[in-house]
Symmetry: C2
Subunit: 244 residues, 2 copies
């Protein structure tokens, strides 16, 4: 009844008086784990229409139902910013997805580079991580996680109205930093984080030649890929995004 | 003989021709795990005199010895920037120490706030994490990790020539952001990251009144403490530190 402590993402319409059925795992979480019962309040979001307060109207072991009462937060979409990264060890890949969601990326694309170890990813598991991060960080938006694609393919089919900022470790030693982020005439951006070990020479040469791609350096120390992702997202959000 | 792939922190003098004895765990790592033998090369740093190439001259199960040949990188100290943070769950606390090292903090201070769950920390374990992070990120400096102290005590004994930037979640909703980082006449800084759940009202009031403390906000989404640490370090390094 009191403050709704639980925030839940649901893939369902939300609106005043809207009834929301619960799947078995959601019912287990709300009633088994969190010990909620009929009359208790929950916060819901579906990634499209903000956050809604809802009340438990039916609580069972295999399902249940909620009823939306009022909107508690408006929908807030992040800037149009994709994060492309080369998957690394499992825990750190999960971490990148979590951090990208918190930091306000609108889409998350794992890419396979020459030095990427991962041959495949569990897209559904990474998507679930993005949902959980959005539930935790109070966001109302869940970035879509793409399937793993080859970097070559991604660059060959790149949309020409989108700028790409890539973090080049090779710039870290001595090479002067280019202007942090070039002024652009577009709101569509992407950040590309290379794999541990960096890009291979052919990838680096190609990236530096692309008219839509802009190298940046992230300081004089070598950052792990997960650290670099948060740092690059911070600089972008601070300079061009919704942090200002 | 070829490229030294292993980087090792040692608490020992380094210099041309200097002999460096190996403790049992270091010998196990170099000869047991990494399979090095006499004649192989290693990179060493002690946090004070840069990175040195060294050659294995004695390799045993319980110890061994290296001999420094030449300096491979000069010493690079980070700016005079402390990171203060309220310890959180074990894995994320480890993570903050790792990230602070990569991002170039010069000192890491766990502080106990009103909403901090941790009553104690394992200082030696966290210090070992800082060493490992420095070994991995190519750094030549290892930040000291302090014992856990009460935030109240830390603020009461604060050195008056050091500025403090603190991240206040309560600023996230609506309140306009103050200038990101105030211009200062000092190179001595610290960043304070609050606990999950934020500062308590008394802490917040006190912080806002301190002449050396400056609130900043990190965007419109709520960040986890570990994300906030990397984001705040990024903004500081980019604006006032050694990233420019």
């Amino acid at each position: 009844m009191a403050d709704a402590k639980v925030r839940l993402y649901v893939d369902h319409d939300l609106g005043e008086g809207q009834s929301v059925p619960l799947a078995r795992d959601q019912a287990h979480y709300l009633f088994g784990v969190m010990r909620l019962g009929v009359g208790d309040s929950v916060k819901l979001f579906n990634g499209r229409v903000g956050e809604w307060l809802a009340r438990v109207v039916e609580a069972g072991k295999r399902g249940g139902a909620l009823e939306c009462t009022a909107q508690s937060r408006p929908q807030m979409n992040p800037p149009d910013l994709w994060l492309l990264f080369a998957p690394i060890k499992k825990a750190r890949t999960d971490f990148i997805v979590e951090k990208a969601t918190e930091m306000g990326a609108s889409r998350i694309s794992p890419v396979q580079t020459q030095f990427t170890n991962a041959e495949r990813i569990r897209r559904d598991r990474l998507q679930a991580h993005a949902v959980e991060a959005a539930e935790q960080c109070g966001g109302t938006f869940v970035p879509a996680v793409d399937d793993l694609q080859k970097l070559d393919t991604v660059l060959s089919t790149w949309p020409h109205d989108r700028q790409l900022m890539f973090c080049d470790e090779a710039l870290a030693d001595g090479t002067p930093a280019p202007g942090l982020i070039p002024a652009g005439n577009t709101n569509k951006w992407a950040i590309l984080i290379g794999p541990e070990g960096g890009f291979c020479e052919a990838e680096r040469t190609r990236l530096h030649k692309l008219p839509f791609a802009h190298p940046i350096r992230l300081g004089p120390r070598i950052l792990r890929a997960d650290t670099a992702a948060v740092a690059a997202l911070t600089l972008w959000q601070h300079t061009l995004g919704d942090w200002t």
